[in-house]
């Protein structure tokens, strides 16, 4: 196994709840009916378009509003989404254990308008300076897979097998692995720590 030199963390699902959990909590607050759940499942593709900058946050919320038939205005959906994006503080403890020789990168999948409002609350800049953030909406990609997996090693100027993706989305991770990008499925901070130890990225003590 080639040793990783760069570790790339997906923002939503690792540092915050996953985008589907955020949407579920934001939109279905007080309205957890079966039909609405069924409708919400289809929004991952829409979220990918939002992440890549192919649609803006207003269009995203308007589509959710149109398709869910809930009595929540698009502006209220945005407010609720922003409130639901809470920091996962336990991940920072794990990141602090990583030796400085690893390049740490953050893949920002939230649109700029949201990220600007939440980044301070997430305290993300303490671990990732601006030059170590890959903002998906600014990459000019039309698909996550395989475009992003081609883009990432080129952007950070390392062979693909020297990169390691940490992402909670199993399907995306499987696509990354099949493309040749080594990856870890993020389940929780404790599990990630164990995986880092097993891969000898951090010491056991």
């Amino acid at each position: 196994m080639t040793e990783a030199q760069a570790i790339l963390f997906w923002l939503s699902g690792v540092f915050t709840p996953s985008n589907s959990d955020v949407l579920f909590n934001a939109v279905l607050k007080g309205d957890r009916s079966f039909n609405n759940l069924s409708t919400l499942i289809g929004f991952q593709e829409l979220y990918d378009q939002l992440s890549l900058g192919l649609i803006n946050d207003l269009e995203y919320c308007q589509t959710i509003y149109d398709e869910t038939h809930l009595i929540i205005k698009p502006e209220t959906i945005t407010e609720r989404i922003l409130t639901s994006i809470t920091p996962n503080k336990s991940i920072y403890e794990i990141i602090n254990l990583l030796p400085e020789n690893y390049q740490l990168w953050l893949i920002v999948d939230y649109p700029d308008t949201w990220f600007n409002k939440i980044s301070e609350r997430l305290e993300i800049h303490q671990s990732f300076p601006m030059e170590r953030m890959i903002v998906l909406s600014k990459c000019g990609l039309s698909n996550i897979s395989p475009d992003l997996f081609e883009y990432l090693p080129n952007h950070i100027n390392l062979p693909i097998d020297r990169c390691l993706l940490v992402d909670n989305n199993t399907k995306r991770v499987l696509k990354a692995i099949n493309y040749g990008l080594p990856s870890i499925i993020y389940v929780n901070a404790q599990r990630l720590k164990r995986e880092f130890i097993l891969r000898k990225l951090i010491s056991k003590s």
């Binding site: 589907s20 579920f24 079966f34 759940l37 069924s38 919400l40 499942i41 289809g42 991952q44 199993t170 399907k171 991770v173 499987l174 692995i177 099949n178 080594p182 990856s183 870890i184 499925i185 389940v187 929780n188 599990r191 164990r194 995986e195």
Partner: protein, 150 residues
């Protein structure tokens, strides 16, 4: 060498719960270990067994390591023996076209039972409870949790 747990009680409880997962299928792996832990804790049962039952014929529940490489290997293995793109006899009636998902479900399992000891599942260090949903469309997936014990 092993540990023994013995107990006798006249009060045996059975608690069941249905949960719904968001899934878009196509080998979607959902880690439900923490959800089952929460269920056991909320039941108040300290000793017994917990059953996790997937209520569909196009997916499975397994105990495994939720590690990216293993999941990719499992997906590849299933694709080799039950290819997604194949003319299954199940497709002849032209109702649905998910023959591979039914065969994969039959090869795996739709339920697992785990011991509950001192209010916890004695899972091994890397064991986790995973739902694998191989359906070909987006829909909610239902599971039944049932705990029996005291």
């Amino acid at each position: 060498m092993g540990s023994n747990w013995k107990g006798k009680s006249d009060i045996t409880m059975v608690i069941s719960k249905q949960i719904t997962l968001q899934s878009d299928g196509h080998f979607n792996v959902i880690n439900i270990t923490d959800i089952v832990r929460d269920f056991i804790q909320s039941s108040g049962i300290r000793h017994g067994q917990v059953l996790i039952f997937f209520q569909h014929t196009t997916g499975a529940v397994i105990i495994g390591e939720h590690e990216a490489g293993i999941m990719a290997d499992l997906q590849e293995l299933l694709e080799r023996i039950t290819p997604t793109d194949y003319e299954y006899k199940h497709h002849i009636r032209k109702v649905d076209f998910n023959g591979h998902a039914h065969l994969r479900a039959a090869l795996m399992q739709t339920s697992v039972t785990l011991p509950v000891i001192d209010g916890k599942m004695p899972l091994g260090r890397v064991q986790e409870i995973l739902v694998i949903d191989d359906q070909v469309d987006q829909a909610p997936r239902s599971l039944i949790f049932q705990i029996i014990g005291e």
